[in-house]
Symmetry: C2
């Protein structure tokens, strides 16, 4: 059967070769520069076409839609009902129980007073509820941003010697982070965070997890004098040079609770239904350990405790923002990096769960929401917050239906702030260490790393660079190196585009890569190449040399027993654009090939390419109309009819030479 | 006739739809990571396949070729004859006549003793003749490198207070420049300079021409105290704040000689046969003006003259290279910047004239040649040299045939150094300015700029950035900004790849862009998109959103009267590679489309893409074998046979809905 239609095929080719009126390459529709610019701007900055939903709506509806666009809360709030509230209540309480100990621990990670962790779990969620478009995001401080902010700021200011200034710097850089995040959203530059690829984040998170866990050895071993550096070397130093400071009571307590937490986590992973085990575990451990510590007067046995915590809700902190003085550049830098990092985490988490539950989160809107959340936050004693991996996971598995669960959580935190703070007086620091370790250990994803290795070795390399960069140098440099490497790869792909030799699949009119489709065979007298990248300043030199080399190679291997090379056909379907340097390539090729008596034909040049070629040709027309074709098949058919040696149609099918 | 075969076509489609065994997508041949790595390295660093010419040659021939590869001189020297010598002699003398005054004035630009300019026009050309592969390059000191080196070094050391140390630093940074240039060549990183596109060079050259010309106002107006800065503002300042220093005699002399030179140049442009007019003009002017100055005792009329110059050839200067002490980092930095700048100028000039006369220059070899030239140079009292725009232009128009003209020039310079130095005692500085202006004015290419504007507005912008950057900020920053902008554009193209909707060209089996080919029409029930870029971390988010938006748009515009959208077909011919993030796109699309009851099919995934998809699929196979097709035609044919509504074959051809 296949044969029959294949013969029909070759028969069809015959006809067109005898009558070489192939389908003409259409001149693309005219476009003014302004039109092109408009399209470019739309595709680049408004690719999600935000105004689409407004079209053809009555004014009133438009207004409502507009309001809903700015405040997503207006979308779901009206439809809110008791049934939803019930599930949100449960999930809200659950994340609260996680948020409180987490908040305290992460604040310590950032070298800030523990209470700030709770402040930051109260105000920001309320802001997000109004502006955010995700239903599952659990908002609050996160380990990585806290860690980076802490380590970057302490390069200039010691949190022990000058805690007040340190706090001011933290709040100010939170302000800049928020400003920067909102700006990205408003300017619709959301795609910037796309440059943090999965590979990078994988390595970066694993690296940070390792560093953070090691940092916790301070609490876990009860060491008092500990390095403030983030890199692995100094940390290990201060661990093993301070063995005299190790306190066995702390170690025993720490290890045992760590084991409990890890087991709880393991249970929930194995049986997702038991999510509440790992979700509730931290709070349980805090309560138990606190009672224990209180009972045995832990502080007298070398087990350090949190100690007195102030009562009451967030004090305003506008007075704490300092925009002058010597540290400005530091806070801006810190704001930028922590901003980007927390944004990446927030957006990634939001997208993940949106995909899971099949709804959309608008990247740019999310950025504005998170940004404003931080701007507001920094005026009410909150340091940088975003959508957190751990909280959102718990929130989702606890069955959260809407962002309302964030409100519940922040109410729970509010109650804690108002009445329950004294209870944390005896909470041992070691327990916080254990909680942090359990949280971050989940960020190390070995299977994903293995998959990376399998799919793309280069991405694996990028991941390693991020990982070791973070561990041995510093969080920000590790990140920078990995990003640089990925961009370099993209640039290299542009500078060295693939050129593939095509052959005809016998019995069809299909031309494919000779090395991929073994049955494909070369057509005598032709060299058919496809160029697999836009042609621009960065690769014309290479492409010119490479194509000439192809022709030379073809001529050298005397593949063409009785045919000499007569036509070079460039398959241009994959050449999405050319720039002004690019167009010159064809002129140069024409001249170079002309010297060899070989002619150049182009197949399926795309609209933009066609336009630019025409413009460049004006006056001295180099690419002749009749050397443009829509398909390789038609090019071969109509060119072979003009071939010097009398061989067309059928023969083109039969006398194909194996490569 | 076309009709007949078109019906045959549709008929053919019929058959395959009834028998949907389309041509299978072949699994690509197995390749180990090592093999892939080897290919990658070859294509990236040895794309010119330098060893090809050696293959299959007898040993002796191999040795000869090898020697010729290292010393291009061996290629042309044996074939050298008197006829060639004649033209090389003329051009050699001509550039010598230009080189001598130029050398002196450029050395001044670099705050170095004038004699160094002549030293640098003697040794380096001889080195280049042996190693270089260009026939037109005129080697010697150049204005831009001289200026940059002079201004960078004087930031730390004053050439007036400590001329000896300044000289040492200049020679040492020349050494580093050479080292760096040679290293680029040896490591085969030649493509780095490809990032300096034509657009950039156009703007850069024009900008430098303006700046250098303005610098010459010093000599032309006879101003004694002049800024050493390169930007336009300070230059104009010192021109108009020093009006008291203007000397009318100098101005008269300068203007009149400038006019003579420009007229001479104009004549040679109009009548290429009269090239010798512009070629000989500089030397003539020098001689006449010198005699004139001697006759009228110019120095007593406020016309500054070169004055006494030491006699004798280059003294060795190995003892002047200092690799220790506080200035090391400065000389390395200076070496790097001047190195890359002079390299760009040299290679650009080399390539330009090679294209003009249709021969090849090997970028990497040129870099080694220029690099070694400078390394040798700095041991013989030469500061940084390269292929100079002005000299090469004169050299070429004077009819140089081989690099021998450089030998002639350096011999002429040798004779000058040994015997003729006293004659330059009375040469007025103003004449040097006039010569330089005439030389660089040719670098401003308005028509090319206009063509740029016509072809690619963005490249035009890049050119403007380079131009104004050079004029108002500085040469190196102007360059950096332009390069950054070009790279940004490339990255944007990657982040926002084009997705085009394809339609069927009636009466054929060809699918093309609906907006380009107006006659093309959509196939009911299908959405056929082609993705026009590699899929990677930087664009998956965009592509996912964009493709979903396409489907929504198609569903909204109820184009499909009685057909609902059932298949999304992705034409993957233009997707040259995917990375690990890229493969996830297809999984996500599958799920997202699944929710809409739409199925995803891929057409012609290239070998690399196919391999990675397979690897990513292992275990949970997401992309089903029978949803891979070789051509869109076959995809449509065999899918429509599985379509829910009973409509296949013939109808698919006829009931095409206009878009």
């Amino acid at each position: 059967m296949h044969n029959s239609c294949s013969t029909m095929q070759s028969h069809f080719v015959d006809i067109t070769t005898e009558v070489p009126e192939a389908h003409p390459v259409a001149p693309p529709p005219k476009q003014t520069t302004l039109q092109r610019l408009k399209i470019w701007i739309k595709e680049t900055f408004f690719s999600d076409d935000p105004l689409r939903q407004f079209r053809g709506q009555p004014l009133q509806r438009k207004l409502i839609l507009g309001a809903q666009y700015v405040f997503p809360v207006l979308e779901w709030a009206p439809k809110y009902n008791l049934k939803l509230l019930k599930s949100d209540l449960i999930s809200g309480i659950t994340i609260a129980s996680l948020a409180i100990p987490q908040g305290i621990s992460y604040a310590k990670l950032a070298n800030l007073p523990p209470i700030l962790g709770l402040y930051s779990s109260f105000v920001p969620p309320l802001v997000y509820v109004v502006l955010g478009s995700s239903k599952d995001l659990g908002v609050g401080p996160v380990s990585i941003a806290s860690l980076v902010m802490g380590s970057m700021l302490q390069d200039e200011v010691s949190p022990i010697e000058d805690p007040d200034l340190f706090l001011k710097l933290a709040l100010t850089s939170t302000f800049f982070a928020g400003l920067f995040q909102a700006a990205l959203g408003i300017l619709r530059l959301g795609f910037i965070i796309d440059f943090l690829s999965k590979a990078i984040l994988l390595g970066f998170m694993a690296g940070s997890a390792v560093i953070v866990s090691l940092q916790q050895l301070k609490g876990l071993l009860g060491i008092k004098h500990f390095t403030k550096k983030m890199a692995i070397i100094p940390v290990m130093k201060s661990v093993f040079h301070k063995t005299d400071e190790w306190s066995w009571q702390t170690i025993v307590m720490g290890i045992s609770f760590l084991i409990i937490l890890l087991v709880a986590r393991h249970v929930s992973i194995k049986k997702p239904k038991l999510f509440w085990v790992s979700a509730g575990a931290p709070l349980m451990c805090v309560i138990i350990s606190t009672i224990l510590a209180f009972a045995i007067k832990a502080q007298h046995h070398g087990i350090s405790i949190i100690g007195k915590l102030p009562k009451g809700i967030n004090p305003p902190s506008t007075d704490k923002l300092i925009f002058n003085g010597s540290h400005l550049s530091l806070v801006i830098k810190t704001g930028f990096i922590t901003g980007i990092l927390s944004l990446t985490e927030g957006i990634a988490v939001g997208r993940t769960f949106a995909a899971l539950r099949n709804y959309k989160v608008d990247g740019n809107k999310e950025m504005m929401a998170i940004g404003l959340m931080n701007v507001v936050g920094c005026t009410t004693s909150c340091y940088i917050t975003t959508g957190s991996f751990s909280r959102s996971a718990v929130n989702n598995s606890a069955g959260a239906k809407t962002a309302m669960s964030n409100v519940i959580m922040s109410l729970a935190v509010l109650v804690t702030l108002l009445f329950l703070m004294p209870l944390f007086h005896y909470t041992p620091n070691v327990i916080l260490g254990a909680i942090i370790i359990t949280a971050v250990i989940g960020l190390i994803d070995i299977p994903a790393a293995y998959l990376l290795w399998k799919i793309d070795k280069f991405d694996f390399l990028v991941m390693l660079v991020a990982f070791f960069g973070v561990i041995f140098i510093s969080v920000q440099y590790g990140l920078a190196m990995a990003v640089g490497l990925s961009i370099l790869k993209v640039l290299l792909q542009i500078t060295r585009p693939k050129t593939v030799m095509l052959g005809k699949i016998p019995g069809t009119d299909i031309y494919r890569d000779l090395h991929h489709y073994k049955e494909a065979a070369r057509v005598p007298g032709f060299l058919i190449l496809r160029i697999e990248a836009p042609i621009n300043f960065a690769n014309i030199t290479y492409l010119h040399e490479r194509i000439i080399r192809w022709t030379e190679e073809v001529e050298e291997n005397n593949l063409m027993t009785d045919f000499s090379l007569q036509f070079v056909v460039l398959e241009m379907s994959a050449v999405s654009t050319v720039d002004s340097s690019g167009v010159s390539l064809f002129k140069d090729l024409n001249t170079a090939l002309g010297h060899k008596g070989v002619e150049l034909a182009l197949v399926n040049p795309l609209a933009e390419v066609l336009v630019k070629l025409k413009k460049a040709d004006e006056g001295h027309n180099k690419i002749r109309e009749d050397y443009l074709f829509v398909t390789v098949g038609e090019a071969v058919a109509s060119l072979s009819s003009t071939m010097k040696r009398p061989t067309v149609g059928e023969e083109v099918q039969e006398t194909v030479v194996e490569y």
